[in-house]
C-alpha cells in the first residue's frame, strides 16, 4: 500500500487545517489526567473513571500507575507495547508502572495523517510516532511545570526521570503527587523532543506488555466477551454470494431448548437467517437444523477454474494503462531468443485469522454499545448507527483485542457490523454476540482476489531487462466501493492496490509498460496482509531471479546492479544480507539450494535468503536470513517478531492446500482440514533478522516481511529442479 500511503498523504493536505483546529480545540483533552477518587477530593466516592468518554491518552493514578491509550487495534503487531514506549520515553515515565488500553472510538484517536481512526497499511508507528512523542513530552512538561510552581523555581531548573521530578536543593516529587496540579495547567503548544541519544525506551528490545496475559489465559479477545443476559447469534449464509432466503423451515431449530429467535436479516448482498440462542453451541446446532430454501436466481455462480482460463486469455490482451515509460515498440528490436514470456496464476486466499469474526452489540432504543475487534472503529460505529437509526455518537464503541486479522478485519463495507446491528435491532435491551464459526469465516468471502499476470521481458545485451510489458488481471476491491481512498487509489480505471509491487518497482527498466484488467466477479474480495505485493512482488522477484540466472550473475549482485537511484532502502538490506548470509550460503549441504528475494514496501526495504531442500515433494525451509531497513526500529524485539511471523505468514501462498476455490458459485473449502495455512513443520526452522542501523523516521514493519518469502523459496526450487514455478498454490515438486 505504498501507493495508498502517498494517496493518504495527499488526503492529509486537504485535511490538515481541520486536524490542526481539532487538535487545538481538543488540546486539553489530548493529555487528560484522571484520578482515583476521592484522592482529588471533589466528587465524593465515585469509582475511578475509565478512559471513556474517549478524551484521554494518558492517565496517572495516585499509586503512580500510568495508563496510556493506544489509538489502534492490537492484533499481534505489538502496538499495544510500542506506542506506549514512545509516549513513556518522552514522558520520562517509569516503564514498570506503564499499562496500555485500547482506545474506544473517538475523534481524538484518529490517525493523524489518514484522518480516520484505523489500523492498517503498516502505518501505526510511522503515523503516530511524532504524535505519541509529543503527547509524552507535553505531559512531562506539564508535570515539570507543576513541580517548578510548587517549589517556586523555573522548569529548566528541574529534570524528570523515571516518573519523578527533581528540583534544586534535593527536592523531588513523584508524578502521582504532581498529576493533580499538572491537570489544571494548559497543554503546552510546543515542547522540545528528545535527541535520539536521550532515548531510554525507543530503540531498546522491550518485551510485550500483553505477554503474560496471553500466556495464562487471562487476555480477553472479542470472542471472549461475556455480558449479563448476553445471547449468541449464528448466521446461515447463502450458499452462493448474493443468494436470498426464499423460505425457512425452523420448526426443529425453534424446538431446541435455549433457542430464542430465528429470523431473516439482510446482507450487503442477499440475505441470511439468524439464530439467536442462550449459548453458542445451541445456536450452532439450531442453525445446522434449519431447512432453508434459497433463491439463487440472478446471481452469478463463479467457478474458479473457469475464471482461471478467462483471466489467462485476458492477460494476453492489453488492459487499461497503468504505467508507460520509454518505447513500447522497443520489444520488436529484441531478438526472440532474448525474450521471456511468463504467465502467472494466483488463487483466492482466505485470511483465516485464528479468532473467527465476531461482533457484540446491545441496542437500547435510544443508544447502543458495541464491542468489536475492529480495524476501523469510526466507519463501523457509523454503520451500526445507520442500521439502528441512531447518531454515531449514540453508539459507544469499545475496541477489543483481536486474534489476528491479516486484512479480514479491515472490511470496507463493514459487513460483520451491519449483520450484528441488524440482529441486535430485533432484540432491544439484549446484548447479542454474533459469532462466525470457522466455516462461516472461511466461506463468507472477502478473499485476496485471484490474479493472472503475463509478462514479456526483452533482455538487453548486458543481460539486464531492456523492455518489460506486463498485464495484470484481477478484481479490484476499491473500484466502486465508495471508500474515502477510492478517488486517490483509482486512476484511469486502474486500481493502484492491485498493481503495487510492479508499477512502483525500484528496478531500473528503461522501457516499462504495465496495464490492468479488473473483471467484476461475484466473489467479495479484500486486502490480505501486504495487499498487491503478495502477487506483484512474486512475479517481479521470480523474473528478476531468472534474468540473473540467465546472465550467470550472483542474484544479489544482479539486483544491486539493476536498482535505480531511489532504491536506497533496498541497497542497505541487500548488502547486509550478503554479509550475514555469506557463511551459510557458501556451505550448503547437498540437496539444498539458496533463494533470494527483495522488496520495498511501506518505505521499508527487505532482502532475504532462504535455505531450501525438498522433502516429500514439498519445500522444506531450513533457514531464513532477512535484512531490513525500517528507519529507526522503535522496538527491535517487536520488529524481529514481525519479520519472523510475516515470513511464516507469507508461506501461506505456497501451501499445497493454500487456495480458496469455487465450483458452481460455492466455496469448496470450509476449515483447516482443506484450507491449510503453514503449521510448524511448514515454517522455517530458524529465521535470523538483521536491522540496518538508522535514526531516520520509522517506517512500517507489519506487512513488509510478507512479500519476499514465497518468491525466495520458489527461486531456490528453481535451482534445485530447473523449473520455474509460476502458478500458486505450489504444485507437487518433481525433483
Amino acid at each position: 500500500m505504498r501507493v495508498a500511503l502517498k494517496a493518504a498523504n495527499d488526503l492529509h493536505l486537504t485535511r490538515r487545517s481541520f486536524l490542526r483546529a481539532s487538535a487545538a480545540a481538543a488540546g486539553g483533552l489530548l493529555v487528560s489526567f484522571y484520578f482515583d477518587l476521592p484522592a482529588s477530593g471533589q466528587e465524593g466516592n465515585k469509582a475511578p473513571p475509565k478512559i471513556y468518554p474517549p478524551d484521554a491518552f494518558v492517565r496517572i493514578g495516585p499509586d503512580g500507575r500510568i495508563v496510556i491509550a493506544v489509538n489502534r487495534l492490537e492484533f499481534g503487531q505489538g502496538v499495544h507495547t510500542s506506542l506506549p514506549m514512545i509516549l513513556a520515553d518522552e514522558m520520562d515515565a517509569d516503564w514498570s508502572q506503564v499499562h496500555a488500553e485500547l482506545a474506544p472510538a473517538g475523534d481524538v484517536y484518529r490517525d493523524p495523517l489518514f484522518g480516520l481512526q484505523m489500523t492498517g497499511g503498516s502505518a501505526s508507528i510511522p503515523n503516530s510516532f511524532q504524535q505519541y512523542r509529543e503527547l509524552g513530552a507535553k505531559t512531562r512538561a506539564m508535570l515539570v511545570a507543576a513541580a517548578a510552581d510548587r517549589w517556586q523555581v523555573t522548569p529548566d531548573q528541574c529534570r524528570a526521570e523515571n516518573s519523578v521530578v527533581y528540583g534544586p536543593g534535593n527536592r523531588s516529587a513523584r508524578y502521582a503527587e504532581l498529576a493533580d496540579d499538572a491537570a489544571r495547567r494548559p497543554v503546552p503548544d510546543k515542547v522540545r523532543l528528545k535527541n535520539p541519544a536521550e532515548f531510554k525506551l525507543i530503540g531498546k528490545r522491550v518485551r510485550r506488555l500483553d505477554g503474560r496475559a496471553k500466556c495464562d489465559g487471562s487476555q480477553k479477545f472479542g470472542l471472549d466477551l461475556d455480558l449479563p443476559g448476553m445471547k449468541v447469534a449464528v448466521l446461515a449464509r447463502p450458499p452462493v454470494f448474493g443468494g436470498r432466503v426464499k423460505a425457512i423451515d425452523d420448526k426443529e431449530a425453534r424446538g431446541m431448548e435455549g433457542v430464542r429467535e430465528v429470523f431473516e436479516i439482510p446482507l450487503v448482498k442477499g440475505s441470511a437467517v439468524a439464530v439467536v440462542a442462550d449459548r453458542f453451541w445451541t445456536a450452532k446446532q439450531a442453525r445446522d437444523r434449519l431447512k432453508i430454501e434459497w433463491d439463487l436466481s440472478g446471481v452469478e455462480h463463479p467457478d474458479s477454474s473457469e475464471l482461471r482460463g478467462r483471466y489467462k486469455q485476458l492477460a494476453r490482451t492489453s488492459g487499461k494503462a497503468a504505467v508507460g515509460r520509454g518505447d513500447e515498440k522497443a520489444m520488436d528490436r529484441i531478438p526472440v531468443a532474448n525474450r521471456i514470456v511468463a504467465e502467472y496464476e494466483f488463487p483466492y486466499l482466505a485470511h483465516a485469522a485464528m479468532e473467527p469474526l465476531n461482533t457484540t452489540i446491545r441496542f437500547d432504543g435510544a443508544r447502543a454499545e458495541a464491542w468489536i475487534p475492529s480495524q476501523f472503529p469510526g466507519p463501523e460505529q457509523a454503520v451500526i448507527a445507520e442500521v439502528l437509526g441512531l447518531k454515531p455518537e449514540r453508539v459507544a464503541f469499545h475496541v477489543e483485542f483481536a486474534g489476528g486479522g491479516f486484512g479480514r478485519r479491515g472490511v470496507l463495507d463493514s459487513h460483520v457490523q451491519r449483520e450484528a446491528a441488524a440482529i441486535a435491532k430485533r432484540l432491544p435491551g439484549t446484548p447479542v454476540k454474533l459469532v462466525f464459526t470457522r466455516e462461516d469465516d472461511m466461506r463468507a468471502g472477502y478473499y485476496r482476489p485471484m490474479f493472472a499476470h503475463r509478462v514479456e521481458v526483452g533482455i538487453g545485451g548486458d543481460g539486464m531487462p531492456a523492455t518489460w510489458r506486463h498485464v495484470v488481471v484481477g478484481q479490484s476491491f476499491v473500484i466502486g466501493s465508495g471508500n474515502v481512498f477510492e478517488p486517490l487509489l483509482v486512476k484511469n480505471g486502474v486500481d493502484a492496490l492491485a498493481l503495487e509491487g510492479t508499477v512502483d518497482t525500484r528496478y531500473d527498466i528503461p522501457n516499462f509498460h504495465v496495464s490492468a484488467h479488473h473483471p467484476v466477479v461475484n466473489v467479495p474480495v479484500l486486502a490480505w496482509r501486504s495487499v498487491g505485493y503478495t502477487h506483484n512482488a512474486f512475479v517481479m522477484e521470480t523474473l528478476i531471479d531468472e534474468l540473473a540466472a540467465r546472465a550467470k550473475m550472483d542474484p544479489i549482485a544482479y539486483r544491486l546492479k539493476l536498482l535505480n537511484a531511489d532504491a536506497r532502502k533496498l541497497r542497505g538490506p541487500l548488502v547486509l544480507l550478503q554479509e550475514k548470509s555469506a557463511a551459510w550460503r557458501a556451505n550448503l549441504p547437498r540437496g539444498h539450494a539458496v533463494g533470494i528475494a527483495c522488496s520495498e514496501y511501506h518505505n521499508t526495504g527487505v532482502a532475504c535468503a532462504v535455505d531450501v531442500s525438498i522433502e516429500n515433494k514439498r519445500p522444506r525451509i531450513h533457514r531464513v536470513t532477512v535484512a531490513l531497513d525500517c528507519g529507526l526500529a522503535v522496538n527491535p524485539l517487536s520488529v524481529e517478531s514481525q519479520f519472523q511471523g510475516g515470513i511464516g505468514f507469507g508461506l501461506s501462498q505456497l501451501m499445497a492446500n493454500g487456495a480458496i476455490t469455487l465450483k458452481d458459485g460455492r466455496v469448496e473449502q470450509s476449515n483447516f482440514n482443506d484450507f491449510r495455512p503453514p503449521y510448524i513443520t511448514d515454517a522455517p526452522v530458524a529465521i535470523d533478522v538483521h536491522i540496518v542501523p538508522s535514526t531516520e523516521a520509522p517506517t512500517g514493519v507489519g506487512e513488509p516481511p510478507v512479500p519476499v518469502i514465497s518468491p525466495a523459496v520458489v527461486n531456490a526450487l528453481a535451482r534445485l529442479t530447473g523449473k520455474r514455478y509460476r502458478a500458486l498454490p505450489l504444485a507437487t515438486i518433481q525433483s
Partner: protein, 154 residues
C-alpha cells in the same frame, strides 16, 4: 440436558448441559473460563488444547458426556505445575506471542510434551506441536521457548 460433575483445575464443578456439548463450550460458556479458545471446531488447529487425564486433548470435539472422572487442566490452571510455570515463563521471556489467540493451546501442547520428554529433540517438538496452528507464525520462538523451558527444568 443432563448434570455433569467435572474436575477442572482441581476444583469440583457441576454443569447442566446438553450431553453433546463439547468440553470447549462447557469451559467457555458455562464455567466462564475463556482461556481455552475456539479456532476450528474440528480438532484441526489446537487452539482448544487442554489436558484430560494428563494427555493433551482437543476440547472442541470432546462431548462433555465422554469425560467421565478424568481430571481436566486448562491454561488457567497450569501455573501451579512446575512444568506449566516453566513453559509460561519461557514464553514470556522469549516474547513468543503476537496476537496470542492460539497460545493457550500452544502452551498446553508444549507442557504435555515436556512432561513426557524433558529433553525433546527437534523432531519431538515438531511432532508434539505439529497440530497447533499459529497464523502469526510464531513458530521459531515457540521452538526456542520449549528449549529454554527444557533447560530451566534440568
Amino acid at each position: 440436558m443432563a448434570i455433569y460433575q467435572l474436575n477442572v483445575n482441581n476444583q469440583p464443578r457441576e454443569v447442566t448441559v446438553d450431553p453433546s456439548t463439547p468440553l470447549l463450550w462447557v469451559l467457555r460458556e458455562e464455567l466462564k473460563m475463556t482461556g481455552t479458545k475456539y479456532g476450528c471446531g474440528i480438532a484441526a488447529c489446537g487452539a482448544c488444547t487442554v489436558h484430560l487425564g494428563g494427555a493433551a486433548t482437543r476440547a472442541c470435539v470432546l462431548p462433555v458426556s465422554a469425560i467421565g472422572q478424568r481430571p481436566i487442566v486448562t491454561i488457567e490452571g497450569i501455573a501451579p505445575d512446575p512444568v506449566g510455570r516453566a513453559v509460561q515463563d519461557a514464553w514470556v521471556e522469549k516474547d513468543v506471542v503476537q496476537c496470542g489467540y492460539c497460545q493457550s493451546g500452544q502452551i498446553m501442547s508444549a507442557v504435555a510434551l515436556l512432561k513426557a520428554k524433558r529433553q525433546p529433540t527437534d523432531a519431538n517438538i515438531e511432532e508434539a506441536m505439529g497440530g497447533n496452528l499459529c497464523r502469526c507464525a510464531t513458530y521459531v520462538r515457540i521452538r526456542e521457548a520449549i528449549k529454554s523451558a527444557s533447560e530451566q527444568l534440568k
